[in-house]
């Protein structure tokens, strides 16, 4: 939130929280007729697509994961240069034979033959991971849902590999995992999005244009 405020501040728009620290209301200085609401990053894609908010700042990974056909429903106005994290595929370091997706695919085939079920990849980014693996032609895997502590699933034997967000890779290494050489699914960063619903009023469209002028977009 602070980095978002800094980003807007550097471009002449003041954003701040109003009221006490516990309230999720905000105020906007430097332009009239724009309201600020504070929502969790995970809710912003849905609210943008539904038209409940017109602009939103959230991770580019969350928009792609949570919205089917995301680019028909929201548009990227500006990547904001912070909040960077990579969605990657990681496997145990003990798999010295697996460095690439090609290896992962071959290992998955052998694993399924040996164990009688598809190799499990733990993630909460189902759509992004599935689309990536489909494009790359990886077979014989299944996704298992993991909403937290995903790095631990391999050690706990509830998954054989993971797909998760990492910024430094430190937690992965600490959990005995390594990133595949070509395992980068999406390089995410905080991004300013607009909704693409058609029911914006002329006034709202004009306001967006004015805001874009001030922001220099």
């Amino acid at each position: 939130m602070d980095k978002t405020f800094d980003w807007f501040g550097a471009r002449g728009i003041g954003l701040r929280k109003s009221g006490s620290d516990r309230e999720y209301a905000g105020a906007v200085d430097g332009i009239d007729g724009v309201e600020l609401v504070l929502l969790s990053a995970g809710e912003i894609p849905r609210e943008l697509a539904a038209g409940n908010i017109h602009l939103g700042v959230t991770g580019s990974d969350l928009v792609r994961e949570k919205l089917a056909n995301w680019d028909a429903r929201v548009a990227e106005l500006a990547p904001m240069g912070f909040g960077g994290a990579d969605l990657i595929i990681a496997v145990p370091q003990a798999w010295v034979d697996v460095a690439t997706l090609d290896d992962l695919d071959a290992a998955a085939a052998a694993f399924r033959r040996a164990h009688g079920f598809r190799l499990r990849i733990a993630t909460k980014y189902h759509r992004l991971v599935r689309e990536f693996l489909r494009e790359q032609g990886v077979a014989d895997y299944q996704l298992v849902d993991s909403q937290g502590a995903t790095e631990g699933t391999v050690k706990n034997e509830t998954a054989e590999a993971i797909a998760d967000i990492t910024s430094t890779g430190e937690t992965l290494r600490a959990n005995g995992l390594k990133i595949l050489d070509d395992g980068l699914i999406h390089a995410s960063q905080a991004t300013l999005f607009r909704g693409r619903r058609r029911d914006w009023t002329d006034e709202q469209r004009a306001k967006l244009k004015a805001l874009q002028m001030v922001l220099g977009l």
Partner: protein, 359 residues
């Protein structure tokens, strides 16, 4: 429209048509146990399936098609040969195009007959064609079996053939494998691994279900693969030639016979295609005008492993096919735990058929 009263009437008409050909009318539960079905179909179908959980039965799925329940039914009945027809809704999530129905009716005709596969193929194709006879549709056909025979006939190791066969349905990965197997090159990371005195020096702790023994076994497989001679350029060219075929069926048959001179392994599959075309002719199909594509069926469902076909609106190539079908012998082997029953079937979407009739 996908489930309107008119659609249901058309579905009944088609089902009666198939029943009149001797097919037994069968039904399947809308809610199916998810584990068998999704383990078989994989993650792409899982993504498009409506999953729910039952407190006692575990994960259940709204049936994404009838094939698996009908095969299971057949396996229990032990009747052979057998013909089945059904009409009912199937459910598929639409991830990209919301104008496409997520709930629609399929009418199917499935033949389990190991005596004469060519005739069974022709029978199913002709029955589906008859159901669509008054509509502006064109048929596309192919034969995954020819491609599989060609891969099995390559002069290379069984491991390489198995890797290629696994990816028949993923053309990008198939092409990448062909390129690597034809190059004689070992990727740098792999070369380093194979050259290492102790490949496990950097391995760290063993975690997870995939054991060190499994990793070691793959390293041995990689070592054997690195020592394997590349697949000859001429053989790769023959596979490309098969994949590039796109002509009328008689012309394709002739081209395949030429290819079979250099690649005798496809001889049986080509003879099978010949027999199928004869049988289709006997069933009244205009074989001389029938389109055949060497790559057809490679991006559809993975379980078709022989004859494949689809019917498309003549002037709406962008629309989903009105009918699809094919042979799925391997699927019955997987579901039958070793007991395979040669099977071929097709489904019509009556809503799409009606849409064509209206315009």
């Amino acid at each position: 429209m996908p489930t309107s009263p008119e659609t249901l009437i058309e579905a009944r008409r088609l089902r009666d048509l198939f029943a009149a050909k001797g097919a037994q009318v069968v039904k399947a539960d809308v809610l199916q146990p998810a584990d068998t079905l999704l383990d078989l179909y994989g993650e792409d179908i899982r993504a498009r399936s409506y999953l729910t959980s039952d407190p006692l039965r575990g994960e259940m799925v709204l049936r994404p098609d009838f094939t698996v329940p009908v095969v299971q039914m057949h396996m229990q009945a032990h009747a052979d040969p057998a013909r089945y027809t059904y009409a009912g809704k199937v459910f598929r999530k639409q991830e990209t195009d919301e104008t496409r129905a997520n709930e629609y009716v399929q009418v199917g005709y499935e033949v389990f007959d190991g005596q004469n596969p060519a005739n069974a193929d022709a029978e199913v194709f002709a029955a589906i064609a008859e159901g669509l006879s008054d509509l502006p549709v064109r048929a596309a056909t192919g034969d995954i079996g020819v491609l599989m025979a060609a891969v099995r006939g390559l002069r290379t190791t069984d491991d390489r053939k198995a890797a290629l066969l696994r990816h028949i349905w993923r053309p990008g990965r198939f092409r990448a494998l062909m390129r690597r197997f034809g190059s004689g090159q070992v990727p740098p990371a792999r070369a380093a691994l194979l050259a290492a005195d102790d490949p496990f020096a950097q391995a760290g702790a063993d975690i997870g279900l995939r054991s060190r023994k499994e990793v070691a076994a793959r390293i041995e497989a990689l070592r054997a693969d690195a020592a394997t001679a590349p697949i000859a350029a001429e053989e790769i060219a023959l596979i490309d030639a098969i994949l590039g075929l796109r002509e009328t069926a008689p012309n394709v048959l002739s081209a395949l016979r030429d290819i079979a001179v250099d690649m005798p392994a496809i001889g049986t599959a080509v003879a099978g295609l010949d027999a199928r075309l004869d049988a289709m002719n006997a069933h009244g199909v205009d074989v001389a005008a029938l389109e055949f594509e060497g790559s057809y069926g490679r991006t559809s469902l993975e379980y078709y492993d022989g004859f494949v076909f689809g019917f498309y609106a003549t002037d709406r190539p962008d629309h989903p096919p009105v009918a699809t079908g094919g042979r799925y012998d391997a699927l019955t082997a997987q579901l039958g735990q070793g007991r395979a029953v040669p099977a071929v079937g097709g489904v019509i979407r009556p809503d799409l058929a009606l849409g064509l009739r209206a315009c």
